[in-house]
């Protein structure tokens, strides 16, 4: 079958109906991953044994494919009576996957804060929670925006995986269009170009935000 440009253009509006789903899943997954990743890293540093456990958990998350993690959540959770909708599984899955990487980013960020800052907090008699939240976290932020931004863009690029668990995001819609018309080439190329534009655009946006944040936090 020859490539048909008219058909390719005609499927674009239908595919774009999934754009909003793609975007909100990305945002939700980024927030989830940041919260979970920071929690993992703080727990890892809280005491020795918990440290080993969290280290292993983070490595397990980083050593297994996101696709397999999604299958695991999607097929295994119902077995234990937890039935979540595909979209929720997708958001949770991406959050967990990227939390492993963000934990590593936060590790580097915390290391870049001077030891004196921890000691000063302790000397002032602050509780550990206050040291983490009021002293470490704000100073760490400056050093983690760039790598965090990279992983956020990466999360956007991972949303097509959710098509395999039947989430109606853009790739899912494109595959359905292909199945209905028996023509896969056109929907695939259309969704490919849309994703490329989206990824490059959001990448630029993240770089811009990064510059803003770094400029405003210069001392």
């Amino acid at each position: 079958m020859k490539f048909n440009l008219d058909f390719a253009l005609s499927v674009v509006p239908t595919i774009l109906t999934g754009l909003f789903t793609t975007l909100w899943i990305t945002v939700a997954a980024c927030l989830g991953a940041a919260v979970l990743g920071f929690t993992f890293e703080i727990l890892r540093r809280s005491n020795r044994w918990l440290g080993y456990v969290m280290r292993f958990l983070i490595d397990v998350i980083r050593s297994t494919p996101v696709l397999v993690q999604l299958y695991f959540l999607y097929f295994v959770m119902p077995f234990y009576g937890v039935t979540l909708s595909a979209v929720v599984v997708g958001v949770v899955g991406l959050s967990v996957y990227y939390s492993g990487y963000l934990a590593e980013v936060f590790k580097g960020g915390i290391d870049s804060v001077d030891t004196g800052q921890f000691e000063a907090g302790k000397a002032l008699g602050l509780r550990r929670r206050d040291v983490v939240w009021s002293i470490i976290a704000p100073q760490m932020l400056r050093n983690v925006v760039a790598p965090m931004g990279n992983y956020f863009v990466s999360a956007l690029k991972a949303t097509p995986y959710l098509a395999v668990i039947a989430v109606p995001e853009m790739l899912g819609i494109a595959l359905e269009l292909g199945a209905n018309s028996f023509r896969y080439a056109e929907p695939m190329i259309a969704v490919g170009i849309i994703f490329l534009i989206l990824a490059v655009g959001i990448n630029q946006l993240v770089r811009m935000l990064e510059k803003r944040m770094l400029a405003s936090s210069k001392r």
Binding site: R45, V60, Y71, K107
Partner: protein
């Protein structure tokens, strides 16, 4: 079937997983080296062209790349085996990431190294091969190991284009018997067995490169 039996069944797909990884590397390594060096050396329009090439492979989601190539190339008269398509899509995607490690490592070298080579009357190409690249290799090793892990994990998606890798085997077994917990736990375990050593190795290399390692300080 017990977990051990399921795991043995899944590991029958290891050959395909390993082959896709190997062929993927054959695309990724040359692509990363050539484009990374090219981006380092070129200026102006030429550099823009190289950057566009890299960004195309790097910014497109890898699943989309795979599907676009798998479903669309036949429409343009290009018939490739699933294995070739998978190796190209995964390899060039990872190669795009790798190129940035190569470029960053080259740029981080002291300028004096190149100047010393010039002063010795070496050809520019000799300076690159004998002075710059060997030194850059150390700096880019941790990133390249991490990219390798990404490639191994990325091969899970070839199960979606009917290659019988570990993920595909797991789905086959899941259809034969109702035991999602056993099957998907085994699948996670299978990837963990393959990737965990590489994850540990990558961490070891990172520690060697960042001499000042403070990552285990308790707070």
């Amino acid at each position: 079937m017990e977990i051990a039996g399921i795991l043995a069944g899944i590991l029958q797909g290891f050959r395909v997983t390993a082959l896709v990884t190997l062929y993927g590397m054959l695309w990724a390594v040359p692509f990363a080296l050539i484009t990374g060096v090219a981006q380092h050396f070129t200026r102006g329009a030429a550099r823009f062209a190289v950057t566009c090439l890299i960004e195309f492979w790097r910014s497109s989601p890898v699943l989309i790349l795979l599907f676009v190539m798998y479903y669309s190339l036949p429409s343009f008269g290009i018939r490739l085996s699933s294995m070739t398509v998978a190796a190209m899509a995964l390899g060039l995607n990872i190669g795009g990431y790798g190129s940035q490690a190569v470029r960053a490592a080259l740029q981080s070298l002291d300028r004096g190294q190149v100047e010393a080579g010039r002063a010795l009357g070496l050809h520019r190409l000799n300076i690159l091969v004998f002075i710059e690249l060997p030194q850059a290799a150390t700096a880019m090793m941790p990133t390249l190991v991490n990219q390798f892990i990404q490639l191994v994990k990325g091969t899970a998606i070839v199960s979606l284009i009917t290659l019988t890798d570990m993920t595909f085997r797991a789905k086959e077994i899941a259809e034969l018997q109702y035991n999602p917990v056993g099957v998907y736990t085994s699948l996670l375990l299978a990837y963990l067995i393959v990737c965990y050593p590489a994850t540990l190795f990558g961490r070891y290399l990172e520690r060697r490169v960042h001499i000042e390692q403070r990552g285990n300080r308790e707070i």
